[in-house]
């Protein structure tokens, strides 16, 4: 196995060839905030929170979806990056209808967590109050589009782990939304196995079990990685 060496925030780090910059950052004992990234799922670079600076490049790179290469010099925590990350989190809050006070995920929400991590004490952007729907047609689960940040973890876990591909992304811009089946009510989609993996990995309160009310959601984002390791490495460590 060949090895790549690079520098992250002044620390030298060696990772297996083919690793992502995010894996290199973590191998260096550092961290960057993430929302769409999840162990076990293919990266998409949707949330832009893990953007890093690469010396010699004007472009910022999403660490989760960029392959590490030999000799790179990466910076993860500059004032510019801190500013962009906070701005991105403020925009997440402003573009949806995120009301932590009565949300099913209050206390276990990864959007709440990154707001703390980036030091967001208010949004400088006006809240948009978009008109969005709630799909409660499934017998066990609900999808509240008001709380969706379009990380596509549900789309990926259903496609890549469960193999059902119930979820997809429709429309563009501010109309962009998650759809079930052929833009059907979730409960009408025969392909859904009701496995609940999409609910397990959802970082916010967008997908939740019907029996859960305010602050009662118990997410299990680790399950995607557990299942991937079980299948590919024959390791089962629940």
């Amino acid at each position: 196995m060949s090895v790549i060496t690079l520098q992250v925030d002044g620390r030298d780090v060696a990772v297996p060839a083919g690793s992502t910059l995010l894996q290199a950052i973590r191998a260096a004992g550092l961290s960057v905030p993430t929302l769409c990234d999840l162990e076990g799922l293919e990266p998409v670079g949707a949330c832009r929170l893990c953007l890093v600076e690469l010396e010699g490049s004007q472009r910022l790179l999403p660490a989760c979806a960029s392959e590490a290469s030999e000799g790179q010099v990466i910076r993860t925590d500059t004032a510019q990056l801190q500013g962009y990350r906070r701005m991105a989190v403020e925009l997440f809050f402003a573009e949806g209808n995120h009301v932590c006070a009565f949300c099913v995920a209050n206390g276990t929400c990864e959007l709440q967590d990154v707001a703390v991590a980036v030091g967001m004490d208010h949004s400088r952007f006006p809240y948009q109050y978009p008109q969005r729907a709630v799909d409660a047609s499934h017998p066990r689960f609900s999808l509240d589009h008001n709380r969706c940040i379009l990380c596509t973890r549900c789309v990926r876990v259903c496609d890549q782990i469960e193999g059902a591909h119930v979820w997809d992304v429709a429309e563009r811009g501010s109309d962009c939304r998650i759809v079930a089946g052929l833009d059907q009510h979730w409960g009408e989609v025969d392909a859904c196995t009701s496995c609940g993996k999409c609910v397990d990995v959802c970082p916010t309160g967008a997908l939740y079990a019907k029996e859960d009310t305010t602050a009662e959601k118990h997410p299990h984002p680790e399950r995607a990685g557990q299942l991937r390791r079980a299948r590919e490495q024959r390791q089962w460590t629940p």
Binding site: N97, C100, N106, Q112, A115, D121, H122, Y127, Q131, A215
Partner: protein
């Protein structure tokens, strides 16, 4: 014999902080959490003058030269707006106190209710007072008595400049104390990390 000169107590030398608390469009939960400060309220009463507050003062007019004001609630009607503008003029340090002041939170949910051609104020008033009423339903209209709703519920910082944000629904008493205690000794609190910053 020379009498020893008593050392000056710096706490006594500092003028007493003039503290106000204001309740705009909110549930009063932030003020209830403020009252959960329990014994610290005695220390606070000894260290500050509470010059305006729905829970600790009878003053009806927001006074001049206030040092610190905790503002609970969003800006939802013309009274909220007028008080916000007044307190900003008369206060050195304005704190958005809790999620409603910071994000409009639950009161702001009426912003989702705007029907085509009608702002959210008109929409919710018609829903509440006409559509769901019996035949005698009428829209409330009493200028100078019942404050008119603003077209949209706004966070405080969209109306006046805000100096400090203290999130939480409500902020816990511990969080409120950690924010107030430094102010008593002339320092600015650090609002960071999960214990101070988390929404909800």
């Amino acid at each position: 014999m020379i009498a020893a000169t008593p050392a000056q107590d710096p706490a006594q030398a500092r003028p007493r902080l003039r503290l106000a608390t204001v309740w705009l469009a909110g549930c009063s939960g932030c003020h209830m959490s403020f009252l959960d400060l329990d014994e610290f309220l005695f220390e606070l009463a000894a260290a500050v003058d509470i010059v305006y507050s729905p829970v600790a003062s009878d003053t009806k007019i927001y006074p001049e030269q206030v040092d610190v004001c905790l503002v609970e609630g969003a800006v939802a009607n013309v009274d909220n707006l007028q008080l916000a503008l007044t307190l900003r003029q008369r206060t050195a340090l304005v704190i958005s106190f809790g999620d409603c002041a910071i994000s409009a939170n639950v009161p702001g949910l009426r912003n989702l209710c705007s029907a085509p051609g009608r702002d959210s104020a008109r929409t919710v008033l018609e829903r509440g007072y006409l559509e769901l009423a019996d035949a005698s339903g009428q829209l409330p209209f009493a200028p100078g008595i019942v404050p008119e709703l603003l077209p949209k519920v706004l966070p405080l910082h969209e109306v006046i400049p805000v100096d400090l944000y203290l999130p939480g629904c409500p902020p816990s008493a511990e969080r409120i104390r950690a924010a107030i205690a430094p102010l008593l000794v002339g320092q600015r609190p650090r609002i960071e990390g999960s214990s101070m910053l988390r929404f909800g």
